[in-house]
């Protein structure tokens, strides 16, 4: 497995299923935070390059929250959640009984709340992978950047530039009450680790 582009259709649908279960776990966790029912769409797994990803996320200068978590153990690599300003404000307001409207209102305490959300979301997906593969995967504490999406994406682009320009991308809609929130997740296992995952799932 030299780059994500070499994945075949069966492998992609198996990875989508991991995304599906992960998103289900995430929706459950989110509904606890929001004290409301959270519905989700079928996740859309794509293998796309950074330029297209930037377009999907509202253009390079659109400000988003990037939450980065490193995976270690049986699987090495990282996960990067890209969450819209609206999503972040909604979660912080529900979690902390606040009424913030933009990133400008975010201080240290709100930052730690965002990290905690990163923990919850990353844990949701990782437990899906662990459950299906029996692999032992540990997560680093999340790191958060509130910045232009293009700048945030330069980080995975540079780290994985050695294996081409394509990345594994999962787009997911969560619906809660009147709110429709989009979550974007980049999962970047090292090429060797991706092979380990696919092997454990019987589709290598």
């Amino acid at each position: 497995m030299e780059n994500y582009n070499n994945l075949n259709e069966i492998q992609i649908s198996v990875l989508s299923e991991i995304g599906n279960i992960g998103a289900g776990n995430a929706a459950t966790a989110l509904s606890h935070i929001l004290s409301d029912r959270v519905m989700m769409s079928v996740p859309d797994l794509q293998i796309i390059d950074v330029n297209r990803m930037t377009t999907i996320l509202g253009g390079p200068e659109n400000e988003v929250a990037g939450i980065l978590v490193n995976m270690t153990g049986d699987v090495e690599g990282m996960m990067l959640f890209l969450l819209e300003e609206e999503f972040i404000c909604l979660l912080i307001n529900a979690l902390m009984y606040k009424n913030i409207k933009s990133f400008a209102d975010i201080l240290e305490i709100e930052m730690s709340a965002i990290m905690e959300m990163g923990n919850i979301l990353a844990g949701s997906y990782i437990s899906a992978i662990s459950m299906m593969t029996n692999l032992d995967i540990r997560l680093s504490p999340p790191q958060v950047a509130l910045d232009m999406v293009g700048a945030i994406l330069s980080y995975p682009a540079a780290l994985f530039g050695s294996m081409g320009d394509e990345l594994l991308f999962i787009e997911e809609d969560f619906l809660s009450g009147e709110n429709k929130i989009k979550s974007h997740l980049l999962i970047m296992p090292e090429p060797k680790s991706l092979e380990i995952i696919l092997k454990s799932l019987g589709v290598s």
Binding site: E63, L68, D147, M148, A151, S154, A157, G161, D165
Partner: protein, 157 residues
């Protein structure tokens, strides 16, 4: 008013006044603006990585500092620019997430500077490092580089 020419990731463009250049949301990437003030011609390269490492990274010479800058000088040469008259302004090379060891942003900036030195282009201004993204706009009319950020202010170099 001239055109605003957009430079993508691993890309480079050359314009002359009144056209201007922009590259959006540089993170660990570095934007290198080369300027010939006699001819009012400017070139902007947006590099992703310090150096090419075999075939795996693709053959895009615009992607790497150690191939892109030389190529930009060559292309500007075809438009009549002499490398000795070029000056450089650079922006980017941030460290968006804390890493252990030397970050890609730092390595990018270091290699860009080394390349400029090797190619004998004088570096006259820079806004690099730290942990935030930057959009770089270059105007060949006056040779100014405007750096915009999300919440960290704007500056003109």
């Amino acid at each position: 008013m001239g055109k605003l020419v957009v430079v993508g990731i691993s890309d480079q463009q050359i314009v002359s006044s009144p056209d201007t250049l922009v590259t959006y949301a540089l993170g660990s990437c570095v934007g290198i603006c080369l300027y010939d003030n006699l001819r009012r011609i400017a070139g902007l390269a947006h590099i992703l990585l310090p150096e090419a490492f075999g075939e795996a990274g693709g053959n895009n010479i615009y992607k790497f500092a150690d191939t892109a800058i030389e190529e930009l000088i060559r292309s500007m040469g075809k438009k009549g620019c002499v490398s000795l008259h070029l000056t450089a302004k650079i922006a980017g090379g941030a460290n968006m997430f804390a890493t252990t060891g030397k970050s890609i942003g730092d390595r990018n900036v270091e290699t860009v500077k080394k390349e400029l030195q090797r190619l004998r282009v004088r570096l006259v201004a820079e806004d690099t490092g730290a942990n935030y993204g930057r959009t770089a706009l270059f105007n060949p009319e006056d040779g100014s580089l405007t750096v915009k950020t999300a919440g960290k202010g704007n500056k003109v170099l």
